[in-house]
């Protein structure tokens, strides 16, 4: 990869859209694999993207995931249009979930999405404002 090369991607995420759920993450994974990011790192990027994507689809009114791939790292910026998270520290706890039963029946709602993102990224920041929305920024270094 050329040292000045930057790849920018953007995906719109629709609330409740389970048919395309995982598409953005799959494309992101494919691209980082194509440019030669190590499999283990590509996998971490994929997990971060997937958990963020699913949270926007399941818990929010919709949003966007932006990806910036640099030679040395991948940055994921996820933003949604609300309803936001009242207590971010609580939401970050493993096992905490407000997913309704029909969502749990599909295998979501383990309360592990946010912890997975934090664990699989090198830098993780989440800010949320009730009603307005939630913003997450993750950095995954390639080396």
């Amino acid at each position: 990869m050329n040292s000045r090369q930057v790849i920018n991607l953007e995906f719109q995420l629709k609330s409740g859209d389970f048919e395309f759920a995982g598409e953005a993450s799959s494309q992101i994974k494919r691209i980082v694999q194509q440019i030669g990011v190590k499999p283990e790192i590509a996998r971490r990027i994929a997990i971060c993207a997937y958990e963020a994507e699913m949270n926007v689809i399941i818990h929010s009114q919709g949003g966007i995931i932006r990806v910036e791939i640099l030679p040395e790292q991948t940055d994921l910026y996820v933003e949604d249009r609300g309803p936001g998270i009242d207590d971010v520290n609580l939401a970050m706890q493993e096992g905490y979930s407000t997913a309704p039963d029909h969502i749990r029946n599909m295998g979501f709602g383990a309360g592990m999405g946010l912890p997975n993102m934090a664990r699989c990224s090198d830098e993780f920041t989440i800010t949320s404002e009730v009603v307005v929305g939630t913003k997450i920024h993750m950095t995954i270094r390639h080396i």
Partner: protein
């Protein structure tokens, strides 16, 4: 033990087949919670679940799993099978329970860790 051999020994149904049947399987994971699979299933492992909807395929692709066994007689949705075919995910089904599948895999030297 390759995926092909596992399919034969356990008489699994191949509902979506792909390249990689000769891949050697050393590890397995069983869970019906998708984020739990994301967190704990190793790359190249075989995943046993009773979920049959299409997000199973996304999880398999993103976590880099070798194959998925849908156990307990659960019939995957048509969309799940279509997606597995297009994404190149090996999707297998069986009437055996998850417990029975895992037990038989363990006998074939597939391990959880």
């Amino acid at each position: 033990m390759t995926i092909g051999e596992i399919i034969n020994k356990l008489s699994l149904n191949e509902v979506a087949t792909a390249t990689g049947l000769d891949k050697n399987i050393k590890k397995g994971y069983v869970s019906d919670l998708l984020s739990n699979v994301m967190a704990f299933a190793s790359a190249d492992s075989i995943w046993i679940t009773m979920q049959g909807h299409q997000n199973v395929v996304a999880v398999a692709v993103l976590a880099g799993l070798a194959a998925v066994i849908i156990a307990g007689g659960v019939k995957p949705e048509v969309e799940t099978v279509d997606k597995a075919v297009s994404e190149g995910v090996i999707l297998l089904t069986t009437n055996l329970s998850s417990f029975e599948v895992v037990g038989r895999l363990y006998e074939l030297d597939v391990r959880g860790e």
